[in-house]
Symmetry: C2
Subunit: 342 residues, 2 copies
C-alpha cells in the first residue's frame, strides 16, 4: 500500500487536501474551511455547541479500530450530543494531532469516515486544524447544531410520574469492546490466530460504528412529543439516570426486565461470565437516548418503534431504585466509564 | 505546595470544580456547562467559529511556560482569530487531556489563566471535556463569536492599490521564544544558573502572554473603516501575505523599513546573530492583525495609533515583493512555522 509522508504536504496543504472532498450542504453554513473562522447564520434557531477530545490509548485502540470507523464514530458521538438536546447537528470542526507513524493515506481513511458520517447526517465540515503530535493520534471535534428554543430538551426537566424511556438496546457496545479486547489478547499470544467474529457482527458494529438517534428525534417531532428531559447514553444508564435525577431533583424506579438488551450481547456476556445487566447499566458507548415524557404522552410513546419504557420518575427522597426480576430493589450508582482514572 | 491527585475528583466533579468560578456574562449564552450541549442565541448576528488544538512538546514547553500563562494564551489566540474576521469573541469551549503528572492545582492554574482571558475579553466558558492522556497535556479550544454580516472581513477581498496595514510590531514573540530556548539550554547545563531576563520583559511578555487586537477592531469600527481583507499574524507576515494574496488573487509590495519592530527584539536579534527582519517575516505568534484598506480610507488610517502601513496591493502578475532598505527587491515566500514538520 502506498505511503505518503505527512511532511510531503505543508500544514495548509494537508488541511486543504483532506477537506476539499467535503461539500457544504446547509444554508446555515455561509463560509466553511479556509479563513480565520467559519461563518454561520442561525437567525431563526438557537445554536447548540458540543465538543469532544479523543486521545489514542485512552479513548480508542488502533489495534482493532480501523481509522475509517474511528472517523465515523468520532463524528457520530458528537452528533448524538446535539440530538440529545432535541436538536439537529449542522456543522463540525475537526482538529487532529498526528505522530510520524501516520501517513497521508491513514488520514484519508480517517477523513473518509468523518465524511461518511457527515453525508449521512447532513452535517458540514467547516474548519479545523492539523498538527504534529509527539505520541499517537489526538482528535478534537466540535459540533454545532440547531434547535427551536421551545423544543430544546435539557437534563433538568424530569418531573414526578414522568415515564422513563430508552431507545434501541443497551450494553451491546460494551460487549463488542470486550470481544475486541479478548481477541487482541489472543492475537498477542499467537499472531496466526484468526479472530472469531461469527454471529457477533451486531455487537461489533455497535462498538465500532455506532449511530446517533436522528430517527427517534424526528419521530418524536412527528408525533408532537417534546420530552421533559433527555440525554444520550454514553457512560451507561446508571450514570445518565443519576445526571437527570440530580439535575431535575427527582428520583426514579427502573425495572431490570424492561431494559432492552440484544441477544448477541446476552450470549457474549454469558461466554465471558459477565452480567449483561451490569453491562447495560454501566457499560457505556451505546449512544442511545434516555428521555422522560409526561404521562399524557403515554399513548404517543407506547408502541413507538425503537423506544422502550423502562420505569418512571419519583420524588427525590425515594432515590434511584433498580427493581430486579424478583422484585428486589437495588440503589443505582454511577459506575460509568471514567476516563480520568485509566 | 499542595498536590491533589486528579483521581480524587471524578470526570464530572473535576469539570464542575474547574468551571464553577466562571460567570456567564453574554446575553447570547442561554446555557453553558452542564448539559449535552451549550445553547446560544445569535438571532441578529452571524456566528463565527474557530478552533485550535495545542499539544505539549509541539505547541508549548512547560519547562518555561507557566500553566496560567498557557491558559491565557490558549484562549487569547482563539479570540484573535475571531477579531481577524472583524468580529467579537463571545463563547469558548475548553477540552483538556492530562497525564498523571498534573495535579488538580496545576489545572486550577491553567483555568485561572483561561478565566483571566475570558474576563478581559468578555467571553463565556460554555463547555468542554476533561480526560486522561497517556502523555502530557492536550488543550483543545473552540471559540464562537459574533459579527454583523456586512462587516465580516475575509482573506479574499484585497484589491489592487489597497493599503497594507499591520498592527503593533512583529518578531517580538519569536525573539522572546529564542531567549527562553537559550535560557533553557543554559539551565540544562547548569541548574544554578539564573536566567538573564533584564530589559527583556517586553519580548517575554509577547511570547508568554500575547494579547488579541480587540482595541484595533473597535477603533476601526469607530472610524467607520471596514478592511477589504484581514487575518491575524500567527505564522509570520510572509505566510499571511501569501494567504491574502493567493485568496484575493493579487500581488503586493511591502517595504522592509516600514515593518514595525520593537527595540528589545532588535537587541535580542543582534545578540543572537539573527536577522530581526527574518523574525518579523517568518517568526510567528505575534497575534497582530494584517489588513488591507481601500485608498479612500487613507485619511482615517494614517496616524491611527498602533497601525503601520507597510505597503500596497498590486496586480497578481507582479507577485509578492519585499522592497529592501537599498531599494532591492526580494520575492516573499512563506516560511512560517509549520508544526507538522517538527
Amino acid at each position: 500500500m502506498q505511503r505518503t509522508e505527512i511532511s510531503a504536504y505543508g500544514e495548509f496543504g494537508l488541511i486543504k487536501y483532506l477537506t476539499e472532498k467535503f461539500k457544504i450542504e446547509n444554508p446555515s453554513t455561509l463560509k466553511g474551511v479556509g479563513d480565520d473562522a467559519a461563518v454561520l447564520s442561525y437567525e431563526n434557531k438557537k445554536v447548540l455547541v458540543t465538543t469532544d477530545l479523543l486521545l489514542e490509548g485512552i479513548h480508542f485502540d488502533l489495534v482493532y479500530v480501523p481509522l475509517m470507523h474511528l472517523g465515523y464514530k468520532a463524528a457520530v458521538v458528537n452528533f448524538s450530543d446535539i440530538y440529545a438536546m432535541n436538536g439537529a447537528p449542522k456543522q463540525i470542526t475537526v482538529s487532529i494531532g498526528v505522530s510520524k507513524r501516520f501517513s497521508v493515506e491513514d488520514l484519508e481513511q480517517l477523513y473518509a469516515g468523518i465524511q461518511m458520517a457527515c453525508t449521512k447526517y447532513g452535517v458540514d465540515l467547516i474548519g479545523g486544524d492539523t498538527s504534529a503530535s509527539l505520541t499517537g493520534l489526538a482528535i478534537s471535534i466540535t459540533c454545532i447544531g440547531e434547535a427551536d428554543e421551545d423544543k430544546i430538551v435539557y437534563r433538568n426537566g424530569a418531573k414526578e410520574n414522568d415515564l422513563i424511556c430508552v431507545t434501541g438496546n443497551l450494553g451491546s457496545a460494551y460487549m463488542g469492546l470486550q470481544l475486541l479486547e479478548r481477541e487482541k489478547v489472543v492475537f498477542g499470544a499467537n499472531s496466526e490466530a484468526q479472530p472469531d467474529f461469527e454471529n457477533r457482527d451486531y455487537i461489533l458494529q455497535r462498538q465500532l460504528k455506532p449511530e446517533a438517534r436522528k430517527d427517534i428525534v424526528e419521530l418524536l417531532a412527528e408525533k408532537g412529543v417534546v420530552p421533559t428531559s433527555m440525554m444520550d447514553i454514553s457512560d451507561g444508564l446508571s450514570s445518565e439516570l443519576l445526571h437527570i435525577c440530580t439535575q431535575s431533583n427527582v428520583g426514579c424506579r427502573v425495572y431490570e426486565d424492561k431494559i432492552p438488551i440484544n441477544i448477541q450481547a446476552v450470549i457474549m456476556a454469558e461466554e465471558l461470565n459477565m452480567s449483561i445487566v451490569t453491562a447495560a447499566l454501566n457499560g457505556g458507548e451505546d449512544y442511545e437516548l434516555l428521555f422522560t415524557v409526561s404521562l399524557e404522552d403515554y399513548d404517543k410513546i407506547v408502541g413507538m418503534e425503537g423506544v422502550a419504557m423502562v420505569g418512571h420518575i419519583t420524588k427525590s427522597a425515594l432515590g434511584l431504585q433498580l427493581v430486579g426480576r424478583e422484585g428486589d430493589e437495588i440503589e443505582l450508582r454511577a459506575q460509568g466509564w471514567n476516563s480520568l482514572e485509566e
